[in-house]
Amino acid sequence: MMSHEGLLSIALGAATAGMALLALSISSHWRQIFGKRARGLLSLVVLRGGGALLLVASFAICVRADPILMATLVWPMLLMTGAGLVSACLALQAALARATPRS
């Protein structure tokens, strides 16, 4: 039986991964990471659907870790944290890309 902290760490991981997929479904962030590589409609559906599913999975793990009323408080805060981590990574990636001279 996984510890309470372990379960919530996985929930945070799922929330962050879900937010990352949703971020990639936004064209500006897709271009930022993958450059000019085309993103088809199927990819968009997979990214958005997968992102949403991961967020739902994160909630399910929160409910596993805590009573449901507590989980309804924990989950939005994990979403905030996950989205913040993704935003920070995107901003850092952009700064590093600007700092790296093009070959």
């Binding site: 949703l22 924990v74 805060m77 700064a95």
Partner: protein, 563 residues
Amino acid sequence: MRESFRQAMAFLHTWLGLVLGFVLMATFFFGSLAVFDREIDQWSVPETRMQRATFPSIDRVVLPLVAQVRPSADSLDQAARQVVGPLPPVNLLKPTAFGVYSGHREPLLHIYVEFQLPNVPRDAGVDHVYASGQDLIVPRNGWHLLGGMESRLNLGSGFFFPMHFMLQASWLNIGLWIVGLAALVMMAALVSGVIVHRRLFREFFTFRSNKSQQRAILDLHNMTGVLALPFMFFMTLSGLLIYAQFYLPSNAALMGPLVEAQEQTIAARIPLPGDPAGTPGALASVDAMVEAAKVRWFEEGSAGQVASVAIFHLGDSASYVSIGRDSSDRVLSAEYLHFRASTGELLYEDPPPAAAESVNQFLYGLHYIQFRHWILRWLYFVGGLVGCACIATGFLFFVEKRKKEHVALGSQGVRVVDALAVASVIGMPLAAVAMLLANRVLPVEWPHYNVLQMAVFWFVWLAALIHAGARSRPVALGGVSPAWAEQAFAVAVFGVAAAVANWITTGDNLLKTISAGYWPVAGVDLALLAGALVALTVGLRLSRMRAPAVVHLTHSSAEIGGE
């Protein structure tokens, strides 16, 4: 009149946010500190630094100590004003009720004793007037009263927490009114902000640090606002609902007779005596009642520990014992079992709350966070600081957007807003850290120790405002006020100094507290040092920002302009 709905919302968001944003900054910052109010209490009153002990025996430990608690001088002064005639000698006052309570974040047991005064109340609508005394029960060398701590200022629960909901302004409850108005405005600002933010989903993760300062600040304001939107919305809503009866006293003002009738109906259903019988009564074993309470909770599927025990009409035949369950495992508030004091039989159990009351308790619970969930507690702390960042970037965006225009017009508007922003965004944390430093440096024996700590807080905050105003001239010329960096450096210095002062005055340094697992004090020290590091980093970055090119108008230039 604004051309469109969105423009109208932008106008509302900007000006409401600017005017009441300074109050909201205080509410969110001190709300974040209040998340760890008990830990800050232990840091600020070193005599209470100890590991938490289990709830002691009421029969063997607590009851003998009740007789040692005397009414406080303040309570006697207050009671004397409410009764006719002089009060009886203090040593003749007998306790008529008492309560003990503890929590998972409280190292000590709080004891509260009530003394019913025999005097006739001045207010004919009042049945009795009481004096009260408080103390702490310490599990050291057996159990005994700590004594002398009841008047000490606890910086967390006694200062930062009241700052959060009433700005320490109790005259005519003006602080409550101001915070309530700010909270109402916050709801409007949240809704209008969502309407104004056209690309809410497209720019959900966007922070463009390489763009203009104005664009980068707006990105940060949008991002922090959207990420923390659910947190800010529910904190603001629940905060308003907690004081709803104060802001809209519809019960008392509009339905007085109905409310009285309801109270009487409820009292008739609850077999708990409101008044003593006037005949002496014995007290059965309270420990046995505590065990019976635990068994009952277990049988009902909500096994738990005891958080509070209270005895009413002490020594009277109508006396009863109320035992509260430690509800730190849930969001909702406590449940109570009430026993007849003379026999220990269960008199009454609080019924499960109705739907509306459950929602009310949930909203209370999510705001007061009395539950045991350290991860969520830290997330609340971060959420509060993200809220502060949202408000702060709102100020900065206001200044940056209008700077060029105000410089061209020679207006001082952005200079004033910028100075106020410095005082609230950096000056306020500076004052809080200075207060913590003063707590360690000022001698405890000084008669005005509490007042001096508060004076340091207000003086440093006022000094920060004056300093921000005095150093704001570059803003009027299109630059950045050096006050931002200077006050950030001051936060760094005071933060480190407070942690070092804690070490020098108490012997508790990080090595000692972390190795002992004493996280309340270690946590505050770590937060002080982490805050100092952030402040230093921010100060260094800000101090490297270029000063504006100052244009000196010569006599000839002025003539050319004026021909």
